[in-house]
Symmetry: C2
Subunit: 216 residues, 2 copies
């Protein structure tokens, strides 16, 4: 019984890591589509969201099965309930890949009014945060999870930079306003992705310590 | 067996209508908090999102139970699979109530640079769209569902109006840029809420006709 439980927990870890890889793939495609103005790739990133949703459902059923069959307590219960929370945040990152791709399609026929390197960097940092969070979950590595949370400031600072830049562009040339508004929303979705990666690390910390971030 | 199935389908309808009411309540609170700059109410609207998530899970389990126990085909299968899709869109509206409330908290200490009547109107129309969609689902009323989809243009037009107004404000006074950017994102979330209400009606049409909007 105990062996079966350990095996199912390992399966849960594998599925969570797999979902993480799917999210990274989706965000990378969404950003590539944005930067290269590739409408087909943007549509693919939107479509792919439903595969992520399916993977979320798979993991959810695995968690419910574990809860019902094994009735775990304390540490094991926390691992499973954290997994349930983490996949909600992951699924929302997938939603944002679709949100960004819809803006990409809107802007696909215009030349960009600014370089997108800060938005790309926001995506890179967020995806590193996500991968490190999931490593921390599997390895039960508290320090790694805490390091992820600190990195969210970098994403927030980049968002403020992009926002101020776009405000200045609109201030100088109202004709660029439409695209600046779309880029602002793109950056906002990236910033939210960083928030979700942070939430995931907070759940990892809970799964290890039994304490929520705010209580620590 | 058939009677039990009908009873469970009725229960499903009731739970969906209940989830719809929860969403309307949440959005109304989020908008009220925005307009009156009420931080506590905004925090409540954020918290309430988890009740909506729980209701989504309840309905999902009810749908899975129906699918497993009754193995429905054709029309009944469509009703249940549409319900599963509809609750995903509803849950995302709940997420946006939280997103809007976080922006409300950010702006709570400043006087507004513009009236918010268009944003309020976007919320009102979207919530009418949502309620009518769910009525159409329960009543299997194709015309009602089609009418909802047409109303999304009103929400989109209001968004364009708000966006242009905010672009002009930033153009004229860069110091208002920060708040204008926050209001723009608030309006964008409202516009997305209209999109989700539209999606819900498209699923209602599918549940009745077996055809997706684009095929019609």
């Amino acid at each position: 019984m105990r062996d079966k439980f350990q095996k199912e927990l390992e399966e849960l870890n594998e599925e969570i890591i797999e979902m993480g890889k799917m999210i990274v793939y989706d965000i990378q495609n969404a950003v590539k589509a944005l930067v290269t103005q590739d409408i087909n790739l943007a549509k693919e990133a939107i479509q792919y969201d439903s595969s992520i949703d399916r993977q979320e459902r798979n993991i959810e059923h695995l968690c419910l099965k574990l809860l019902l069959e094994q009735q775990p307590v304390a540490g094991d219960l926390r691992i499973i309930s954290s997994a349930l929370k983490m996949i909600t945040d992951m699924e929302r990152i997938g939603d944002h890949a679709a949100d960004i791709s819809e803006l990409t399609i809107l802007m696909a026929k215009e030349s960009y009014i600014k370089h997108l390197e800060h938005i790309q960097l926001m995506a890179e940092i967020s995806m590193t945060m996500l991968s490190e969070s999931l490593d921390a979950y599997v390895e039960k590595d508290l320090k790694k999870a805490e390091a992820v949370i600190k990195r969210d400031d970098e994403v927030d600072d980049l968002f403020d930079k992009v926002k101020n830049e776009l405000i200045n562009i609109i201030h100088e040339n109202v004709n660029d306003g439409e695209q600046a508004a779309n880029l602002l929303m793109t950056a906002k979705y990236m910033e939210r992705i960083g928030d979700h990666a942070t939430n995931i690390s907070e759940w990892v910390i809970f799964s290890i310590t039994g304490k929520h971030e705010e209580e620590q």
